[in-house]
């Protein structure tokens, strides 16, 4: 039974909490939805409560909120210039959502929202959708210059344009798969090593002694996953900034 319990995939199961079915679509409130709500609630509450005193000299928690705000602000300004600051709320929400979802997923028994590709793909599609819609709204057909880099010989142009189109189309895929795969792989690894601890310690004294190694690995992996949680949120936000920069300045 102990070995059976170590099912690294189990943590990704979607469980319906409140079944809702509208027009043949299953729109149930699931554990995934619950943790989306939790993510939003935790992030909003943290940002709201830590800044409620509006002190001139920030408390530690207030300075965390301010650091996150300025971190994302600087990131966006560096990548997309001051014009890009109109997307600041969008990028900041994305960063905070992904970051808090990743961090919440690190708690045992918690569901990791970002370990489901549809969620990360939804966010990536939102980013690319914003880029495409804003790009065409601002530049009209000039947005298509994005696919025609300057200074390329004419005979190479079809090839280059093809490559640029492929690279643009693969952006939402790479953006979503990167986050999803990182979270999924990290959590599976963590679960597998933790499972070793349980399985080995069931074997008696030798097993308990032997389980020290996977336990140490699990601890180290938890630290690594904490880093990955930050890093992937950062990478997601940085790439969003760069893609938004394309929407603002398509002419390279």
């Amino acid at each position: 039974m102990a070995a059976d319990k170590v099912d690294p995939i189990h943590q990704f199961h979607i469980v319906k909490l409140i079944p809702i079915n509208i027009g043949g679509y299953d729109l149930s409130f699931t554990n995934s939805a619950l943790f989306m709500v939790a993510t939003v609630a935790v992030a909003s509450a943290f940002l709201y409560l830590t800044t409620s005193s509006r002190s001139l000299i920030p408390t530690r928690l207030q300075s965390i909120s301010e650091m996150a705000y300025e971190f994302v602000g600087n990131m966006l300004r560096d990548a997309a210039g001051t014009q890009g600051m109109k997307f600041f709320p969008f990028v900041f929400s994305l960063f905070m959502f992904v970051l808090v979802a990743n961090l919440l997923g690190l708690f045992p028994y918690f569901f990791t929202v970002t370990s489901h590709i549809i969620v990360t793909f939804g966010l990536a599609a939102l980013v690319i959708g914003t880029v495409v819609v804003y790009g065409f709204m601002k530049h009209g057909l000039g947005f298509l210059k994005l696919f025609v880099p300057h200074g390329v010989p004419v005979y190479l142009l079809p090839l280059v344009v093809l490559i640029e189109v492929i690279s643009f189309v693969s952006r939402p895929v790479s953006l979503s798969v990167r986050l999803f795969a990182n979270m999924l792989a990290g959590h599976i690894t963590l679960k597998v090593f933790s499972g070793f601890v349980v399985s080995l310690s069931a074997l008696g004294a030798v097993g308990v002694a032997g389980s020290v190694l996977p336990l140490a690995m699990a601890v180290a992996l938890t630290a690594l996953e904490l880093l990955v949680a930050f890093l992937q949120a950062y990478v997601f936000a940085v790439l969003t900034c760069m893609y938004l920069n394309d929407a603002l300045h398509p002419g390279h």
Binding site: H10, V15, D26, T30, T39, Y69, H116, L184
Partner: protein, 199 residues
Amino acid sequence: MFVTSAFAEEAAPAVEGGHTGTEGDTHSSTGVPAEAHGVFPPFDPATFPSQLLWLAITFGLFYLFLKKVVMPRVGGIIDVRNDRITQDLDHAARLKGEADAAVAAYEQELAEAKTRANAIGQQANDAAKAEAETARKKIEAALDQKLGEAEARISSIKANAMKEVGTIAEDTASAIVEALVGGKASKAEIAAAVKSVAR
């Protein structure tokens, strides 16, 4: 949530163990759609509509909340702080300017005082020199006068002496002439002769 989780935990191994046989039972007992156990959960399309809907709802609300409430507030805090820092820096710069001006004024006054002191010293020096000069001149004049007087006395004494010498010579000459010649030479002749010899 925990109850459901534990419940699912019981159910999941059952699927792993008896994948084909107990499929129907498991599904009915957990209420998970038929596809949920067949495929890798993150790739199960049956969960997509629900996840997308709730993602849209939660992320949309989150975006609005951040845009309308949190970001103006955090931005405001940071702006206020930056303003305050700028203000304080300006204040400090003004105070520094004042201090610099005070130092400059002090140094200027010091320099003026030095110049004045030098001028006074120079004046005193000049006055003392002039006084010494006049005193020296007066003494020199007095000495010159005394010298002149002394010279005059010497010359008068000399003249008297010479006059007496002439008389003695004349007397001597007349006596010699008398003794030698035996005649009397006139007084005027002897005087002329003495004079010519005395030259």
